[in-house]
Symmetry: C2
Subunit: 479 residues, 2 copies
C-alpha cells in the first residue's frame, strides 16, 4: 500500500463495515464529493446497511455538492439521512426531499465552508473523504474533486479516509487553500486562473484519521450528452453574442475566464466554443466536463480551474493516462475558492448557467418546478451570477416538447433576481438586459427569447400590465 | 480662491449657466452625490432651465446613488432627463419613473462603476462633481461623499467642478482607489475597516476640467429620525440576537464590522447599539448617518468606513468644526470599494437592511409596492446581502397602521432571494433561517416575526400549501 506514506497510518486499514460502525447516530457527517466525482463509495453503503437493519441513524449529511448514487441514493433509500446540505441531484434523495421525509436547504456552494466553520449546522463529527494518497504528515491528496473536503476535515472530530486505487496518485492536481475566518481573513491572491496559492494536499492531523478503507470503485462520472438541435442553437447564439460584445469593445479580444454549468447545454456551449476558432481561453468554473479535455488538446482552452472533474468513464481513462500533461493545465480548488465571489469578480468571469424558467422581468428559477418541487438546487449558480463580470442565463424557450413556455410572466420560484441577469439566451436569440427598464426588458425577452408560438400570449400579458397597472415600473402578477 | 491650488485652473471659474451650456443634449452626464450629500447644486438648476425653456435635453443621468432635490427634483420636473441610473429617492423623479416618463433601471451600487467603465450606458460625456478643493495636479478633493465620482471623472470627456465653500477643505477624509479592469485587477488590499489604500483626491487631467463653478449651498442632508416604539423594538431584537450569537460562539466578542441601511430603522439600530454597552465597534457601510458621530464620541464606534456622510445640518456643523479629530476615525471610499463584495466577504460584515415586505420563504422585497410601483431602489443592499458574513433584514411586521402585514405568503417583487436571507427581524422577534427547510422557515417566520393578528391567516396559507401541493419543498403562489 505505497499510497499511504506513513507506516503508522497503514495500521489503520479496516473494512467499510468497521469504519461505518464508528459513525454515531444523530451526528453531522461531512463527505467529499462534487457531482459524481471524488465521493466515498464504500462506507456510505455500510452506513446504509446499519439503517436498513433498523438502526435510527438520523444523520445530517453535508457534501461539497451532489454525489453518486452509492452515497446519496443508498443513504436516502435506507432512511439514514435526516438532514441534507447543500445540493443534490439524486433521484431517490430528491423524491425523499419532495415527500418531506428528508430536510433539505439549498446553500450557495461558495458559502458552505464558511457556514460549516461558523457552526451553523452544528459540530461536524465525522468526515469521510476519498483520497488518492495519504502523505507522511497525514495530509490527504484528494481524487477527482476537492469540494469542501478541506473544511470538513479541518472541522471534523474524526476522519475516515477511503483510499481509492481505481484512480492514480493525483498529487499535484489540487491547490488547497482554506481562508481563515474574519477578522484574520486576507485577500485570496488569485489574479490569473492558473495561479496556485496553496498546497497539494489537505492538511490533517494523523491522529484524527481514525481508519482507512481501501476502495477500487471508479467514479460514476458525469454525462457525455452530445449537443442536440436546441442546445446547439443556444450555444451558437451565445458565441455570437460574445463576439458582438468583443466587436463593440465591451469584451476583450481574449475573453475573460468562462464558467459554464453542468449538463447538456453546458456541453453544447463548450463544443460550440471549440468550433469558434477561439484559442487560449481559460475556464474558472466549478465543474469541468469531458469536453474540456478535448478543448485543452486543441488549444481552445489554455487553462482550466475547477473544483471537480466530472468526466465520462472514457474521459476518466484519457485523463489518468495523460495525467502528467493535463495537470499542467488543470487545477482543482476547494469550492470556497472556485466559487469565491472575490475571485470571480476580480477575474471578470463570464458566468453561463442554465435556467428552468425565466420571466419577463429577468428573474430566473433554477431550482423548483411549480414553486414546490425541488429539482437539483441552486448549487454555485448564485456565486457566479452575483459576482461575474457578465452574467448569462440560458434556457430552451420551451419544455415538454414545446407544450410549455420557459419564458413566463412570473417565475414560480426566484433564485436569481432581475438585478443579476445581464443576458438571457434561448435558441431564438440573446436579450441583453443591462440598463433596460422593466418594460424594455419584457418586450426584448418576448421578441428575442420566447418561442414564436408563445409570443402572442406574452404580449397580451404585457398589454394588460400596461393598461391595468396604475404605476409603470415593474411587472406584477396579474390575477 | 485658495481652494484651487492651480493658477491655470483658477482662470476657468464661470457661472452655473455658462457651465450648463457646455452640456450637449442627448449625452450621458455623470454626477457626484450619494444620499443628499456631495452632489452638485447649481449647474443642475441651470440645466433644468434649458429644458424649461423648451430645449430637448434627453440626458442620461448617472449618479452614485440618490441626490438632493436641487438635482434629481429639478431635472425631473423640467423634463431634462430621459434615462436615470442607478438609484433615487426623490419624489418628483419617482413620480416620473412610475408614470413611465423617465426610463430607470435599478443597478447594484457596487457594480455601477464597473458597468460605466465597460461602456454599458454609452460614453460618459460630462462629469459634474462637487469638490471641497482642487489640487495643483488637477485632482479633485470631494465633499461629503465619493460615490462613483472617481470613475465618472475618469471616463468623462469633460469635467465640470462645483467648488463648494459651504464645506471646509476636507482633504484627508477620502481614500480614492479605483480598481483596474480585468485581466489587470488585483486584490483590493483592505483587511481592516480603517485601512487606507489609495490617495486623498480623485485623479483628473487638468485639461479635462472645462470650467469651475463656485457654490456656497450646503447639502440638504439626511434625516435625523428618532427611534419610535416599533423601530426601537426591532433594534432591541437585533441586538439581543447578536448577543445570543456571541454567547453561542458563532460571533466573536468584538463584533465584525456592521453595515446598516439609511433611515429610521437604521438610526434606531445605531441608537440601540450605542446603549448596548458595546465598545470599539466598526462600521463598513455605504452611508454614515448622524448617530455615527455620537457613537464615535462615546467610544461605541472605533472606526467608520462609508461612501457618504448623510448628516442633519446640525451634525454637518459638528463634523466640520471637529474635522481634524473625526477624520482620524472616518474614511470615505468610492462606492465600488465601500460596496465591494470582495471586501464585505473578507471582513465578515454583518449586513442589516430594511425590507418593504418579506415572505414565508425568506424572499425580500426592497423596491416595489404591489410589484409595479418603484419606491427608491435596491441601492447597495444586494452588494451587502449577498456577500456578508451575516445577512439580516429588518421590517416592521405591519404597515399602514397595522392594516397590512409586511410578512406575506409571496412578495410582490423579489430583490433578495431566500438563499441570501440569514435572519429576519421584526418588532416581534428574530427568525434565524440558516439551514432551515422551506416549511421550517415559514413556520418560524409566522410564529416569530408576523404580527399576532396576521398569524392565523398565514398559518392557514401554510396549511393549504401542505395539503394542496403534491410536493413539499417550497412555498408556491396558491390561487
Amino acid at each position: 500500500m505505497d499510497r499511504i506514506k506513513s507506516e503508522e497510518l497503514k495500521k489503520k486499514i479496516c473494512s467499510a463495515e468497521e469504519a461505518a460502525a464508528l459513525v454515531t447516530p444523530g451526528t453531522v457527517v461531512g463527505v467529499s464529493g462534487f457531482t459524481s466525482a471524488g465521493y466515498p463509495k464504500l462506507v456510505p453503503g455500510a452506513l446504509a446497511k446499519r439503517a436498513e437493519s433498523g438502526e435510527d441513524m438520523r444523520l445530517t449529511l453535508i457534501s461539497g455538492a451532489s454525489v453518486g448514487d452509492e452515497l446519496d441514493g443508498a443513504l436516502a433509500r435506507s432512511g439514514a439521512v435526516a438532514r441534507r446540505y447543500p445540493y443534490q441531484s439524486n433521484k431517490s434523495l430528491r423524491a425523499a426531499i419532495n415527500e418531506g421525509k428528508i430536510a433539505y436547504a439549498d446553500i450557495h456552494l461558495g458559502q458552505l465552508s464558511r457556514l460549516v466553520r461558523t457552526g451553523v449546522f452544528g459540530p461536524v463529527d465525522t468526515a469521510i473523504v476519498e483520497a488518492s494518497a495519504i502523505l507522511e504528515d497525514g495530509s490527504i491528496v484528494p481524487t477527482m474533486c476537492v469540494g469542501s473536503a478541506d473544511t470538513l476535515v479541518q472541522c471534523a472530530r474524526q476522519v475516515i479516509v477511503e483510499l481509492n486505487t481505481a484512480v492514480p496518485d493525483l498529487t499535484g492536481l489540487h491547490d488547497i487553500y482554506t481562508p481563515q475566518m474574519p477578522p484574520h481573513t486576507k485577500p485570496i491572491p488569485i489574479c490569473h486562473v492558473s495561479d496556485r496559492i496553496g498546497q497539494p494536499s489537505i492538511p490533517c492531523d494523523p491522529a484524527k484519521i481514525c481508519v482507512i478503507v481501501l476502495s477500487e470503485t471508479p467514479d460514476a462520472g458525469g454525462p457525455g450528452t452530445a449537443p442536440d438541435e436546441v442546445t446547439g442553437r443556444i450555444a451558437r447564439n451565445l458565441v455570437a453574442f460574445l463576439k458582438g460584445e468583443q466587436a463593440a469593445g465591451r469584451l476583450s479580444d481574449l475573453l475573460p475566464p468562462l464558467q459554464s454549468g453542468v449538463g447538456g447545454t453546458g456541453n453544447a456551449i463548450l463544443s460550440e466554443l471549440a468550433h469558434s476558432g477561439m484559442q487560449g481561453l481559460s475556464l474558472y468554473s466549478e465543474v469541468l466536463q469531458s469536453a474540456v479535455l478535448d478543448m485543452i488538446d486543441s488549444g481552445t482552452v489554455a487553462f482550466a480551474s475547477g473544483s471537480a472533474l466530472s468526466f465520462t468513464p472514457e474521459y476518466q481513462q484519457k485523463f489518468y493516462e495523460n495525467f502528467e500533461e493535463y495537470r499542467k493545465k488543470i487545477v482543482l480548488r476547494p469550492q470556497e475558492i472556485s466559487n469565491s465571489g472575490e475571485v470571480i469578480a476580480r477575474l471578470g468571469v463570464i458566468a453561463i448557467n442554465t435556467a428552468i424558467e425565466a420571466d419577463l422581468s429577468g428573474n430566473v428559477n433554477s431550482t423548483h418546478i411549480g414553486g414546490s418541487r425541488l429539482m437539483n438546487g441552486i448549487g454555485g449558480s448564485g456565486d457566479y451570477a452575483r459576482n461575474a463580470g457578465l452574467t448569462v442565463f440560458v434556457t430552451p424557450a420551451t419544455a415538454k416538447n414545446g407544450a410549455l413556455s420557459c419564458i413566463v410572466p412570473w417565475v414560480s420560484h426566484v433564485d436569481h433576481t432581475e438585478h443579476d441577469t445581464d443576458v438571457l439566451i434561448t435558441e431564438y436569440g440573446a436579450a441583453d438586459l443591462r440598463g433596460k427598464t422593466p418594460y424594455e426588458r419584457a418586450d426584448l425577452i418576448i421578441e428575442t427569447c420566447a418561442a414564436p408560438t408563445f409570443r402572442p400570449q406574452l404580449r397580451e400579458y404585457m398589454e394588460r400590465v400596461k393598461k391595468e397597472c396604475r404605476d409603470h415600473h415593474g411587472i406584477p402578477v396579474l390575477k
